[in-house]
Symmetry: C2
Subunit: 476 residues, 2 copies
């Protein structure tokens, strides 16, 4: 049996135990890298599919740009190179020879993409370009953690080009709302949509929008970002277009991304001491059916019923697995599928069969009900919807009850240092006050929320006037 | 207007003109790398989707392994390192420091994957492992060509682990047949399934199966390979399992892959001097509708009809685009969609509308027919099927008429040197005779066909006995 440390005992170890025991990922023999095992990759495939559909619905197309970025490109945008260069992997040799110019393994693709946009954009008629790519990227991280922070990870990165500041702003906001919708409706993870403070924004952006989620240990996890890049990359790569009046103008840009880190967020948001909990919309398997038998004769009868139910449920478009293996006992199987997070389990034994019933167990609540066999298949869709919305509501209630209005520095410190939740506090807007809090508590401004009203107050550090509360927390 | 060199004038330039003008790919600013533009990537997405479905139907699951391979891993399998090491890109620095051990950017993933299989495989109960990954790989090529041979390319690589030689053999053969099915049924490209000669097999394999296609210039293109790796990688990485009798045994392996090179094969197999021709099963857009109008009033009427037809055709699951842009003339649009290879074009003008008809043009044959508007949508499915099978049959007839039984060296030389087609000739099996032909003609043994009968004969070089004809050709 898999041994999972309880959350109460050691939250970090609990997370690692789930990742390893549910075979979602494993440590690779390369520093800071992970192997995404089939159970983890299947969740990423569902995420990919849902997000890709949302990107296409909003008019985006996919493309693919090179993994390698010439060193000179990285250096063209000053803030960008300062932010990313220290964490790059560098290729110095190729085909047995030392290269004339070093190649950086992409940590993000703005520079290589804007070098191509220069070739493709001449006129306003070429705009907007609404491109996305699914790719691997590499950032040389000092402290890594499976899914949450790894040297190599998988992600998507949108890179769009626009005529005006306003259009780019609309795009950056549209995409952070797409991420919010995905997080809430698919991952069942409630998020706070906001703007990053200048010290936390993307290296090379005018400003950065983000979605922030709360994990069960009350720490924050940045789950997606969308950047308004202004004309910074257009200027660095000299990308101009002839506007509607015949003038040459620099192009406006956005970029936005989410990564395999979302799998970490998913695990941390919903799972429990028995293992993984996966919301139905992202579950590789929706229902597992476990026939219970002692003899071959019993096996035949219960398996016939199991496969009959499987076929009824599958025909509704749900993914169903019958586990009729002899070498494992039913109790072992129950634990196994709880560990793997399959949303619904159906048990059928000979006595059930004789009575024309089966047992249906929910992974989210553990609740078990006995149902007539003839009714099972008609109940699945509703139950999965219930689980999906229940997980979201539970997480939302949890988050809301762990966000505290802290009006003094002492209150803020108590909340964030002791990891009680997010502190919703007034801040004057100065990087100095932000840095003081970070130095003393390790908490950062997670975001300046977009959906919360303005409110007059005093900065918890310097007492200068503030127009809005922002969220402070330690973060992954 | 896009200018495309004719095939007759310069086949290589024709290919490049199609790739660039149809915006399938572009040259990247990194040596030998390409950018896959949205029109090209959309075809890759269709390929990915179809292949992935076929892999899953045959019991495979997806995973993801790291991009970086420690140098010491590459060196563990002697033939493998000899084959791949000279064409690797090497990371020597990460996070601002020189690395203790160099990292190779994966040229293929056998070594990193088998280092993980060592952790995961203990018993026959853990077998088989039927894993696949979709990934980018890097091979430092001297001479590159968009899609066909690029420094970085996208591919899938299957890596399976088995108890016995026979099981691995069944798998290797199963997957080359999956590739054949995909090439023939989706790409409409007929292929010859065969075994590579020892000098052409994968570095580290016992033997390699392949599918070989013929391009319109009569040269061969290797479109997919499947390798029986025996116990080579298991021995290199000490991967043993306890067998059913309690003995420790080395695990047997296969690997198999196809890449974005298939897009090159698709272009070269079907396209013509007007542009790309895409078989309907892989076409990002099945039907384009072009309303023809001179006044706003006309525009409204024909566009209403166009969108009505679009909605009827879309509801059958086909992808339809109405191009009602004002700034381009109908003639320009006709050429544009011929260049892009959209299988069917529908034209509707005011006079058509008055007569209740429209014109339907096939991309493959150029054939135009006038059809009642009420009948159009019911004809689409059948026409697309016709185009799909027609492309395949045309390519098959072409290939078959360009494979020649050459019984003397002089005949073989005439066929392959002058690029008349494939030479089907007797070969004694010796690497020396193979090398003589290659040195003199640049033609290689493309494969020893699996589906052709044995036949006694004499090697075209040394006159020693031969039991089977093999195929010789120059290749991409």
């Amino acid at each position: 049996m898999a041994k999972i440390t309880t959350r109460e005992k050691d939250y970090s170890q609990w997370y690692i135990d789930i990742v390893l025991n549910a075979k979602l990922a494993d440590y690779a023999p390369v520093r800071g890298c992970m192997v995404i095992r089939p159970n983890g990759y299947a969740i990423w495939e569902k995420m990919h599919q849902a997000l890709d559909g949302m990107f296409k619905e909003t008019g985006h197309v996919n493309a693919y740009f090179p993994l390698f970025i010439p060193e000179s490109f990285m250096k063209k945008e000053a803030e960008h190179v300062e932010g990313f260069s220290p964490e790059c992997a560098v290729v110095t040799h190729g085909g047995g020879k030392e290269l004339e110019e070093k190649l950086y393994v992409r940590p993000t693709s703005e520079t290589i993409i804007w070098s191509m946009y220069k070739k493709w954009i001449q006129s306003y008629r070429d705009l907007p370009l609404l491109y996305n790519q699914w790719a691997n990227v590499v950032r040389w991280e000092m402290r890594t953690r499976l899914f949450l922070r790894t040297t190599e990870f998988l992600w998507q990165e949108g890179h769009t080009a626009h005529e005006t500041y306003d259009e780019a702003e609309v795009e950056a906001l549209k995409m952070i709302r797409v991420y919010q919708k995905f997080a809430e409706e698919y991952m069942a993870v409630p998020v706070i949509v906001g703007k990053k403070s200048d010290s936390e924004k993307f290296a090379g952006a005018l400003h950065t929008y983000c979605i922030e989620a709360m994990m069960q240990d009350n720490k924050a996890l940045q789950a997606g970002t969308s950047h308004h890049l202004g004309q910074n990359f257009a200027k660095a790569f000299e990308v101009t277009y002839q506007d509607r009046t015949g003038q040459q103008q620099f192009v406006y840009a956005t970029s936005w991304g989410v990564s395999t880190r979302l799998i970490g967020a998913l695990i941390m948001a919903h799972s429990d001491d028995q293992g993984l909990v996966v919301p139905p919309k992202l579950a590789p398997t929706h229902v597992v059916i476990i026939p219970i038998f002692k003899s071959d004769e019993e096996k035949k009868a219960v398996c016939d019923a199991a496969y009959q139910i499987k076929s009824e449920i599958s025909s509704q478009g749900f993914r169903v697995n019958v586990d009729d293996r002899d070498q494992f006992k039913p109790g072992w199987k129950f634990n196994e599928y709880e560990l793997l997070g399959v949303p619904l389990r159906i048990e059928i034994g000979p006595r059930d069969l004789a009575a024309g019933v089966c047992t249906l167990a929910r992974r989210d609540s553990g609740e078990k009900t006995t149902l007539p066999l003839t009714e099972v298949s008609s109940r699945i869709s509703g139950l999965l919807d219930d689980i999906q919305s229940g997980l979201f509501l539970r997480a939302k209630a949890r988050m809301e009850s762990h966000i505290f209005n802290a009006d003094t520095y002492a209150e803020l410190e108590d909340i964030v240092k002791n990891e009680k939740g997010f502190s919703r506090s007034h801040w004057c807007g100065s990087p100095e006050c932000e840095a003081k809090i970070k130095d003393a508590t390790k908490a950062t401004i997670r975001c300046i929320p977009l959906d919360e009203p303005d409110e007059s107050g005093e900065c918890v550090v310097c007492k200068k006037p503030s127009v809005k509360r922002v969220l402070f927390s330690k973060a992954y």
